[in-house]
């Protein structure tokens, strides 16, 4: 019982990182790792009436905007190719998400932004997702004599609200208290002492 409790508490408390493949949600920032370089990944769905920022998964279908902000200035001198490929399954949540699959790369992409340089450090991708589904995103960067590929699976139209940051700690406390209370409630009533039985 205690073990489960620890697991739950730590799972709730850990805000360190989670992600799918190359995209990592680190605290308040959503980062995309491409080789040694890092970009900020932001997703927006303006028509959704929800002007929130998403990290990889898009909660609904419709017009979506993905913005990549290059953190490393060196990326500004390199070409960036962005492509999205249809996939059968959702992200696994394991290390395999980040493994580059050459067969996949050879497919005709669902859509593609050809390789280009972005000297302002911001790449904006607009795409209208007509139906919900699972996808794999690839970011290929190429410099003079280096090339890196990052893979990140994501889903569109599968809302995953997650636990609001403001509620993580309270839920952890609620669970701890409930577990203690269940333990207390299951305790047998105090056995009457001999004095009374005599």
């Amino acid at each position: 019982m205690l073990k489960t409790l620890y697991i739950i508490v730590f799972a709730l408390m850990s805000t360190a990182s989670w992600g799918h493949g190359g995209v990592m949600n680190e605290g308040n920032e959503c980062k995309l790792r491409v080789g040694p370089y890092v970009m900020n990944f932001s997703g927006y769905q303006p028509e959704n009436n929800v002007s929130k920022q998403f990290c990889d998964d898009m909660p609904t279908i419709g017009k979506s905007i993905i913005v990549l902000d290059f953190i490393d200035n060196k990326l500004r001198d390199m070409t960036v190719n962005f492509r999205v490929i249809k996939a059968e399954v959702a992200a696994l949540g394991t290390a395999d998400d980040g493994k580059v699959n050459n067969a996949e790369l050879a497919q005709t992409p669902f859509f593609e932004i050809p390789a280009k340089r972005y000297p302002t450090g911001t790449m904006t991708i607009t795409q209208d997702f007509k139906e919900k589904g699972h996808f794999v995103g690839y970011v290929v960067i190429e410099g003079e004599n280096e090339k890196f590929i990052s893979r990140f699976p994501f889903s569109v139209g599968y809302p995953n609200p997650g636990i609001p940051a403001g509620l993580k700690i309270p839920i952890a406390v609620f669970l701890v208290i409930i577990v203690i209370m269940i333990w207390l409630a299951r305790r047998k009533p105090v056995v009457l002492n001999e004095r009374k039985e005599d």
């Binding site: 403001g166 700690i169 209370m181």
Partner: protein, 249 residues
């Protein structure tokens, strides 16, 4: 004054039951009224504007002040009702009574006399925290555990329990070129001559260093102080529920 004092008028168990029942019917309404009155005065003096106005219900002060200040009466009543009667509803009685008083005040005074819109002056929701405190008491049957765990829960659950009520009022609005929340706008629109904007004690303090998530920190702090306040007020409850002059019933 001859020998009447030792002969009881009650002769049967049924009679006794009736008398006990009548005693309940006399005492309980009086206690409820006293709790409504006294707790309401206490709440108005200590929380006051934070609970009155929608544009005072912020993430730091309201969250901190309300649970700390409101645990006083539940703690005192817990002592009185638990130690003497093993009745575990002190917190719900206090908070339910307070809400009755607050609603009467808001509807009669704020709306009836001063014509403020009712949505601007809805009291904060305090029943869930009271239910939790009472539940912890009855499960644990210990005022100490209630103080530590229940007090913490009391402080932490306050903001989540109220978010369902106040979230609509935190939607942003553009107004005269300034971004405001709906709550701020209501406070600006509905003129309060004696309550200018700056008088609000909201969102002040150095908790900003915690970044965006100040609410859990405030709630934890409120829970922590609530634990301390609970024990302090247990003692005050003890002091008020002396039965020194009642030798025998």
């Amino acid at each position: 004054m001859s020998a009447v004092h030792s002969v009881s008028a009650i002769t049967t168990a049924e009679q006794q039951h009736r008398i006990y029942k009548a005693f309940d019917w006399i005492i309980i309404p009086i206690v409820v009224l006293v709790v409504i009155g006294a707790f309401h005065i206490h709440a108005m003096l200590t929380i006051g504007d934070w609970d009155f106005w929608i544009d005072w219900k912020d993430r730091r002060w309201w969250v901190t002040v309300t649970p700390i200040s409101l645990i006083f009466f539940p703690a005192a009543l817990h002592y009185l009702l638990w130690e003497n009667f093993r009745l575990p509803f002190g917190a719900t009685l206090a908070c339910g009574g307070l809400l009755i008083g607050e609603w009467a005040n808001r509807i009669a005074n704020f709306v009836g006399w001063a014509y403020f819109p009712l949505n601007m002056v809805v009291p904060g929701e305090i029943i869930p925290m009271a239910l939790c405190l009472d539940a912890v008491l009855i499960i644990s049957r210990s005022l100490t555990i209630t103080g530590v765990l229940g007090g913490m829960l009391w402080g932490i659950i306050f903001y989540p329990a109220n978010w369902a009520l106040i979230a609509p009022f935190h939607v942003p609005v553009e107004y005269n070129g300034v971004m405001m929340s709906v709550a701020d706008l209501i406070g600006y629109n509905y003129v309060r001559t004696g309550t200018p904007e700056y008088i609000r004690i909201i969102e002040e303090g150095t908790l900003r260093t915690f970044g965006e998530d100040v609410t859990p920190v405030s709630a934890f702090f409120a829970g922590f102080i609530s634990v301390l306040a609970y024990f302090l007020w247990l003692y005050i409850g003890k002091w008020f529920s002396k039965t020194t002059w009642m030798k025998r019933i």
